[in-house]
């Protein structure tokens, strides 16, 4: 055992009932490195981190920390061992201000007010952050919430920081900032564990990469020994497939939908780019309103799955049924048996795991929930599909599938509105796109008519002359 092995996982297994989540995972993490852990949905990344943070105990196996046996009984134990956890779903109280929140955390850890002020000022200055700490958390953008969550972890002065899908919710500029930020953290001597799907980002920053697949460790090696393609291949267990762009006849039956002064053709993907918080909510609201007025069938891949798309305590059949209840209702009674067949089709087509229509929605991982939601929203052959952040927090395998499915909608003469804060996603898929800036709609622009720096300028509110259609 070399001294530089900060954390060692020795044959860690974890199962929930019959469901094996981790199987004999064995690797180590060295001091002062950025260690990426990648894998598909349900591969066990989050479970492994929960084990490390003391949130769940392993079924078997042991861990060691700084060469000593490490058996955390609770999250408090991991704090004491200087392990910080930045969660994917922020655990913040809406009604508190940012400052209240930090104070609350500080108080539980016996940090004095004066010291807290200096730490926070120090960190804000160091990372050039301007977090409005006197605002209530519900007024924060997602990026700001993440920074607050990071500050919350940093005031405890952790040696090891775990980031669970940190870039899933960030806009492109924010992602670059974030990557620089973790490089900074590394320079200051922290050890960072990064869970992510975005392999390009991992390639940029990770010193060491561990790949999990279905609960087992597939590979663990230096980052430079992998190419992005190799990582993807190991992760999904096969080669990545290139997207198939269907050629769509221009003369397709073009009933135009008049939306917010925009025309939406029924054989195109209209991208909606823009940094989060620039009127996306309002855009979606008006879109839904107009579609309802036009009495069109609507596929609603919503911007926030937890708020708008799922019922975690109900099973998949019920989650499907409540969305398409009108079609399965006779004289006010619903028929569940015919629904089950349709649900099983979706599960099969989208490879939802575990493939069990009696499982509650909450028992599925985020990516599998998203796959099910998309399958459900495309089930009734809608005329217009809203796809808001369709691949947020979803792994490559699922993302491929989702992107292909959206492209395939065009040949069936369906219109797709693709709203995403991931600019690459918008540019890759859409035929035309608009950019939201402070509630205003800029564009539409035909794909390829603007270069990236022009797009960035528009996203930041600079008026361009002569651009557009």
């Amino acid at each position: 055992m070399s001294v530089s092995n900060l954390i060692e996982f020795n044959n860690i297994s974890k199962s929930y009932g019959d469901c094996v989540s981790l199987e004999q995972v064995h690797f180590s993490i060295s001091t002062n490195q950025i260690h990426a852990i990648i894998g598909e949905n349900g591969a066990g990344k989050s479970t492994l981190m929960k084990v490390l943070a003391g949130i769940v105990p392993p079924t078997s196996g042991a861990m060691s920390l700084r060469g000593k046996a490490y058996e955390p009984q609770s999250a408090q134990d991991s704090f004491r061992e200087k392990i910080g956890f930045v969660h994917q779903h922020f655990q913040l109280a809406d009604e508190l201000t940012g400052w209240d929140h930090l104070e609350l955390v500080a108080r539980t850890q016996n940090i004095e007010q004066k010291k807290l002020v200096s730490i926070v000022q120090d960190k804000q200055a160091k990372f050039k952050w301007l977090l409005p700490l006197d605002k209530k958390i519900k007024a924060y953008s997602i990026g700001e919430q993440q920074r607050l969550e990071i500050l919350r972890v940093l005031i405890l002065d952790p040696e090891i920081i775990i980031f669970d899908e940190p870039t899933a919710v960030l806009s492109p500029d924010e992602i670059d900032d974030f990557l620089n930020f973790i490089l900074d953290l590394k320079k200051q001597g922290h050890t960072l564990i990064l869970i992510s799907h975005k392999l390009n980002e991992i390639k940029k920053v990770a010193d060491h990469v561990t790949i999990l697949c279905r609960g087992k460790m597939i590979a663990s090696d230096k980052g430079e020994n992998f190419t992005v393609e190799q990582m993807a291949e190991k992760m999904i267990g096969r080669k990545q497939q290139p997207l198939k762009q269907e050629v769509v006849s221009e003369t397709g039956k073009a009933h135009d939908l008049h939306l917010l002064g925009l025309k939406l053709h029924n054989n195109e993907i209209l991208g909606v780019a823009g940094v989060d918080g620039n009127g996306q909510e309002d855009f979606i609201f008006k879109l839904r309103q107009n579609i309802a007025l036009l009495k069109l069938k609507f596929g609603d891949i919503s911007e926030d799955r937890y708020r708008y798309s799922i019922y975690p305590l109900q099973n998949l059949v019920e989650n499907f049924l409540i969305r398409h209840r009108e079609k399965f209702t006779k004289f006010g009674l619903v028929s569940k048996s015919s629904v089950r067949k349709e649900v099983e089709k979706i599960i099969q087509e989208w490879d939802v795991r575990p493939a069990d229509s009696d499982k509650t929605m909450g028992a599925l991982s985020g990516g599998n929930q998203q796959k099910f939601v998309i399958g459900r929203e495309l089930w009734h052959s809608p005329d217009v599909i809203l796809a808001a952040h369709p691949s947020r927090g979803v792994d490559i395998g699922a993302q491929e599938k989702i992107h292909q499915a959206l492209l395939d909608q065009k040949k069936d003469h369906r219109a797709v509105v693709l709203l995403s804060s991931d600019l690459d996603e918008v540019l890759k898929l859409s035929d035309r796109f608009v950019i939201l800036y402070k509630g205003a709609i800029k564009g539409p622009y035909v794909k390829g008519s603007l270069n990236n720096s022009q797009i960035s300028q528009i996203m930041n509110g600079v008026e361009l002359k002569g651009a557009g259609l």
């Binding site: 109900q314 409540i322 209702t329 619903v334």
Partner: protein, 346 residues
Amino acid sequence: MKRIDFSSLIGFFIGVALSSVLVILFKENPGDVLKVLSGSFLQSKFDMGLTLFYTTCFAFAGLAFSIPFKAGLFHIGAEGQIVLSAMMAAVMGIILPESLGTFGIVLICLATMVVGILAAQTIAFFKVYKQGHEVVVAIMLNFIFAAIATYVILQNYQNPESQNPESALINPAFQGAKADGIKTFFEQSAVSSFLLLAVLSCLAVWFFEKKTKWGMEIKAYGENPTAAERMGISAKKVNFLALGIAGFFSSLVGLTEVLGSTFQYKVGFSPAYGFLGIVVALLAQGHPIGILFSSFIMAVLHKGASDLDLETQFLTRDFSKVLQAIIIFCVAGAVYLNHRRVKRDA
């Protein structure tokens, strides 16, 4: 296969155990007290009938709580609806002419149900249009409805042959329950055919929640209101529907009392059925068939409590309230802890 959740039952037994400790502190034998509490309904057919009467009322009141609860509403207003609808039943029973016969009974039932439903819709109205909180509105309405009922009865329909605050008896033509099979079997005890209706109601609610569109909409809205609204389930509809059904079941408690048992309105007839319904529903964790069983358990306790005065030296019937409180506390605690554990493991 779903695992059966025993947490509420475990909580119930912990509650009984804790109360036994309390009994020992009062220098009584917990075995004796438990025997009185659980055994008094077995003493005679009449006692059994009384217990089944309580079961009927508790089951309706439990349903009146559990359905809004599924829609995310904490419905604490059943008490007011029960009192107001019982008043309506008594008044209709007094003023309708005898010549209407059975049709008169139907009219009484309809009028009472309408009053119960409207009384509950008042809560929905304030919730939907005035952004009032359903708990605050319901608590205040409980007092208002009780005051209205008392006023109407005492001012206009006071029983001239009695010093007690109660209405005259309803028309003999509408006292059909006196001759029904169940009542006769239990030696003219308080129980009546409404017991069958309670059983049917629980089955019907079970069917409603499992198989109907409205039932699904209520459940979906209760679990995730934002998602439900996005999928076109209107908050207005769910609130009015869930509370309307609750009001309907509250009115059945009123009918059970006036048409099935006393045939008059007695001020203060309800031993807080509306609130005990909350316990019944929580004990059953909202499952309509479970409500049938939990209402029987509560009825046995309730009946036994009235005998505590006679059978023990130091305990009074008020002690049963203490006991109920301890049991409620333990059941709610056990359910909550179990819920948290399940959530954490998921």
